[in-house]
C-alpha cells in the first residue's frame, strides 16, 4: 500500500465529489438546517437561561445524528458497486493497486468532503450566534466537540456504506442497502431501545445495560459525546442520565472505533468480491 497511490485515488475521488455537486449539496443541506435551528432557538434561549449557541448545539446534535449518517451513506454507497457496474473496478485492480489502497483512497477523499460540509455547515451557526452575542467560550467548545464528533460519526457511516457497496451486485441494490442501514441504525435502533426502557420500567436493564447499548451505536454515541461537554448541554438534551452512568470516554471510544472496524469489515467484504 503506497501513500502515493492512495493520494492519487483520493485526489480523483475528491474531484468526482466536487464535480457531481455532492460537496455543495451536503454543505448546503447542513448549513440550511443548522441556521434554521439556531434562528428558531433564539426565542427560547432567554427562557432557559443559557446562551443561544448552547441551545443550537443541542438542536444541531439531534440534526447531526440523522443527517450526517445520511450524507455519509449517500457519498459512499456507490464506491465499489458503481465502479463494478461501470467495469472500471476490474480494470483498476489490474493496475498495481490493492483493494486496501483503493478503499483507503476513497475514504480519505470522502472524509475530507464530509469534514468540509460539517465545518462550514455547523461553523456558520457559530458565527451567527457569536454575531448575535449568544456565544461564549464554553458553548464554542461544545460546537467544536459536535463538529469533531460529527466527522467521526460520518467516517463510521462512510465505512458502513463501503460494506453495503461491497456486498451489492448493482448500484441500485447498494442504494437500497444504504437506506436500510440508515433506517436500522439511526431510527429503529432508538425506537427499540425506547420500547425496552419503557417495558423495563426503571429496572436493571435501564440502569446497567441501556447506557452501554446506547454507546455501542455510533449515532447515539454522538449524542452522549456531545452532551457530556457540560451540564447545561445535558439539561438541554435530556441525555444526562445515560451519559452519567458510563465511564468517561466511552462515547468517544465508540466514535473512534467504529470507523476503524467499519473499514476493516469493508476491506474483508471487498476482498471476497470477484470483479
Amino acid at each position: 500500500m503506497s501513500p502515493g497511490r492512495v493520494l492519487a485515488i483520493a485526489e480523483t475521488e475528491f474531484r468526482i465529489l466536487r464535480r457531481n455537486r455532492w460537496l455543495f449539496i451536503a454543505t448546503a443541506l447542513l448549513s440550511v438546517f443548522a441556521l434554521a435551528l439556531t434562528i428558531s432557538g433564539a426565542s427560547t434561549s432567554g427562557a432557559l437561561g443559557v446562551d443561544l449557541l448552547t441551545i443550537s448545539v443541542a438542536s444541531m446534535t439531534t440534526l447531526a445524528v440523522y443527517l450526517v449518517p445520511l450524507v455519509a451513506l449517500l457519498m459512499s454507497f456507490e464506491a465499489i458497486a458503481g465502479d463494478a457496474e461501470r467495469g472500471s473496478l476490474a480494470l483498476l485492480l489490474t493496475y498495481p493497486v490493492s483493494r486496501g489502497t483503493l478503499l483507503l483512497g476513497k475514504f480519505v477523499a470522502h472524509v475530507a468532503g464530509l469534514a468540509i460540509a460539517v465545518v462550514i455547515g455547523f461553523g456558520l451557526t457559530g458565527v451567527v450566534a457569536f454575531a448575535m452575542g449568544g456565544a461564549g467560550p464554553e458553548s464554542g467548545l461544545a460546537l467544536l466537540r459536535l463538529m469533531a464528533g460529527s466527522i467521526l460519526l460520518g467516517a463510521a457511516f462512510l465505512a458502513f456504506g463501503y460494506v453495503v457497496s461491497g456486498f451489492s451486485r448493482s448500484v441500485a441494490a447498494a442504494a437500497g442497502g444504504a437506506g436500510f442501514v440508515w433506517l436500522i441504525l439511526v431510527v429503529l435502533y432508538d425506537l427499540v431501545l425506547l420500547a425496552m426502557v419503557i417495558w423495563d420500567n426503571g429496572g436493571a436493564f435501564s440502569r446497567q445495560v441501556f447506557p452501554w447499548v446506547l454507546a455501542a451505536n455510533p449515532a447515539d454515541a454522538l449524542r452522549l459525546f456531545s452532551v457530556t461537554a457540560s451540564t447545561e448541554q445535558a439539561l438541554a438534551t435530556g441525555m444526562g442520565a445515560a451519559a452519567n452512568a458510563l465511564p468517561q470516554g466511552v462515547a468517544l471510544l465508540s466514535l473512534l472505533l467504529w470507523p476503524v472496524a467499519g473499514l476493516m469489515l469493508a476491506r474483508l467484504v471487498f476482498g471476497r468480491r470477484v470483479p
Partner: protein, 300 residues
C-alpha cells in the same frame, strides 16, 4: 515461438458451481502476435481473461506472463487489459482519467498526454467522459492499454457496439500495439473483422479450447464444402444432371465441392465451354467455420 512467448497458459482450470468456467486450457501468445479468442457467450472467454489477469483465483494450472509467474508484481506490470464496454466515471475528463492510470502504473504523466494525441482524443481530452461517444470511450480505454508498453494486452470485445469507422480506428490501434511487440489477445464476436486482423484464432467451447491455429489451417482442417454456382444461357437441366446439387431457378445450379476435388470439378465446368454462362465460387464463411468448431460433438 517458445522463447518469445508473452503468455503461456497451461492446463488452466477454473470451474464455477454447476456450469461455466474453463477447464484445462492451454494457450500461448507470442510477442507481437494477434490472437483472436472466439466463443459463444458463456464459453469461458471472460473467465480465461480474468484468470490470466489474476482477478479470479484458479483451481489448477499454471500461467506465466512475459516469463513471470502469475500474481507476481512483474507479471502484473507486464499485462494490460481493456474490459468489455468499460465506462469510466462520467464526471472526470479523459485527461484526468488517463493521468490517474499513469500515476498508478508509475508512468510519466507526459506519456499519458501523448497517448491522448495518439488515439485521436487530443481535442476532447479536457471534456468530461460523460460527453464522449462509445467510440471515444473505447479509444480512451485503448490509450490506457498502451501505458507503460505492456508485453501482453487482453482486449475483451473491444469493438462491440461500435460503428464501422470507429471499429476501423480501433483495429488500427490494435495493429500499432502489436507492431510495437505487444502480444494481443482479442475476445470477439465480430467474426468478419477477425479474418484480416489476427494471426491466429483460438475457439473456446464450454470452457475448452477446441481449435487453435492460423485461419487458413483451420479452414483446411475443417474440410468445409466450397459452393460453386453455375449459370446456364438457357435451361440449366443439363448442368443439374451433370453436377447435382440443387437448382436455384431455371437457369442456375449450385453444388458443393471439397478442397481436394475443387480443381477437378472446375476443369469439368470449363470444359463445357459456352454451356456455362457464368461461374461463382463461394468459399465457406468464417461463420460456417466458427459453427463447425464451436458445435463439434454437441448432442444437438
Amino acid at each position: 515461438m517458445t522463447d518469445n512467448a508473452v503468455l503461456n497458459v497451461s492446463g488452466l482450470t477454473r470451474r464455477f458451481n454447476g456450469t461455466g468456467g474453463i477447464s484445462d486450457v492451454t494457450l500461448r501468445v507470442a510477442a507481437g502476435e494477434r490472437v483472436a479468442l472466439l466463443g459463444h457467450n458463456g464459453a469461458g472467454k471472460s473467465t480465461l481473461m480474468k484468470a490470466v489477469l489474476g482477478l479470479l483465483p484458479v483451481d489448477r494450472g499454471s500461467t506465466s506472463i512475459a516469463g513471470h509467474a502469475l500474481g507476481s508484481a512483474e507479471a502484473r506490470a507486464a499485462v494490460a487489459y481493456l474490459p468489455e464496454a468499460v465506462a469510466f466515471h462520467p464526471a472526470l475528463t479523459g485527461r484526468e482519467q488517463l493521468r490517474l492510470f499513469a500515476k498508478l502504473a508509475q508512468v510519466p504523466r507526459k506519456e499519458a498526454d501523448d497517448l491522448l494525441d495518439r488515439v485521436g482524443l487530443a481535442d476532447a481530452a479536457d471534456r468530461r467522459i460523460g460527453t464522449y461517444s462509445k467510440g471515444m470511450r473505447q479509444r480512451l480505454g485503448m490509450a490506457q492499454v498502451f501505458l507503460g508498453k505492456p508485453a501482453l494486452a487482453l482486449l475483451d470485445e473491444p469493438t462491440s457496439g461500435l460503428d464501422p469507422i470507429a471499429r476501423h480506428d480501433l483495429y488500427a490501434l490494435i495493429d500499432a500495439l502489436a507492431a510495437e511487440g505487444t502480444g494481443v489477445m482479442i475476445a470477439s464476436h465480430a467474426l468478419t473483422e477477425i479474418e484480416a486482423r489476427t494471426d491466429r484464432i483460438a475457439i473456446l467451447r464450454q470452457g475448452q479450447v477446441v481449435a487453435d491455429a492460423p485461419l487458413s489451417e483451420l479452414f483446411a482442417r475443417a474440410q468445409l464444402p466450397i459452393r460453386i454456382r453455375l449459370e446456364a444461357p438457357g435451361d440449366a437441366s443439363a448442368l443439374f444432371e451433370r453436377f447435382g446439387g440443387h437448382r436455384i431457378n431455371g437457369a442456375r445450379v449450385e453444388f458443393s465441392v471439397t478442397a481436394d476435388n475443387k480443381m477437378a470439378r472446375l476443369a469439368e465446368v470449363t470444359a463445357l465451354g459456352t454451356a456455362v454462362r457464368d461461374l461463382e465460387i463461394i468459399p465457406p464463411s468464417l461463420e460456417t467455420l466458427y459453427r463447425h468448431y464451436s458445435q463439434q460433438g454437441e448432442p444437438s
